[in-house]
Amino acid sequence: MTRLPYVRPMQGWWRRNPYYVRYMLMETTSVIVGLYAGILLVGVWRLSQGQAAYEAWLAALRQPWAVALHGFMLLAMLYHAYTWWKVLPKTLPLIHVGGKPVPGLLLSAAGWTATLVISAAVYAAVRWWGL
């Protein structure tokens, strides 16, 4: 007589531990990255059609729900940037400087700093120098 093998149920596995919830949150930020690429792609498409089409795209972005959506997307992108640099040391081979391994936190900190510096530079470029 054979019995059915026991298969551990995996349904909802990630809701059982806050660490896994944060992992899934990190992974699903990719949906927002894709959505934003789509919004920019539509912008380039409308730009290629001329001024009226491009300004209609800009007007759509001014809708209150569009601004609210981008507010939510901004939070997701900040979480993506934070977690991307946080896990960076785990995705790289150990880096040694002067025979000593570079601490992971230092690599993450370099990433967070790069995001801050580049964000400030892009903001300044668009605001004061016109792209």
Binding site: W14, L35, L41, S48, L58, V67, L74, H80
Partner: protein, 118 residues
């Protein structure tokens, strides 16, 4: 042994991850909040002549293409693997759909940027 295509997709995912970690927050703020809601940005920052000039500049084209294409490849790869974590076990059709969308989006972006001209 057949060589795996995984490193190619992982590289595109990684490149898109780095680029979006550096640029996505500030770009979403500028195009989605700062300019449309007029908070911290002049409302003409994304005016047609300015953005057209940017898209006509070869460097601007490269930036726009890199942002759109790499963001799409990053999303396609991560969504594909995330489906597995959610208990959906996607097969080849899903993979083709996701990576195919990223490919189609990249080609579309390149064609449109060439159409916009210099």
């Amino acid at each position: 042994m057949k060589r795996s295509n995984a490193p190619i997709f992982w590289s595109l995912f990684g490149a898109g991850g780095v680029l979006s970690a550096l640029l996505a927050p500030v770009l979403v703020y500028i195009t989605g909040i700062g300019v449309p809601a007029g908070t911290g940005m002049p409302s003409d920052a994304l005016a047609y002549p300015r953005v057209l000039a940017f898209a006509q500049n070869p460097g601007g084209k490269v930036i726009l293409f890199a942002v759109i294409a790499l963001f799409l490849w990053h999303a396609a790869h991560r969504i594909y693997h995330c489906l597995h974590d959610f208990g959906v076990h996607p097969g080849l059709p899903t993979k083709l759909l996701l990576y195919g969308s990223a490919f189609a989006g990249s080609v579309t972006a390149a064609v449109l940027l060439l159409k916009i001209g210099l």
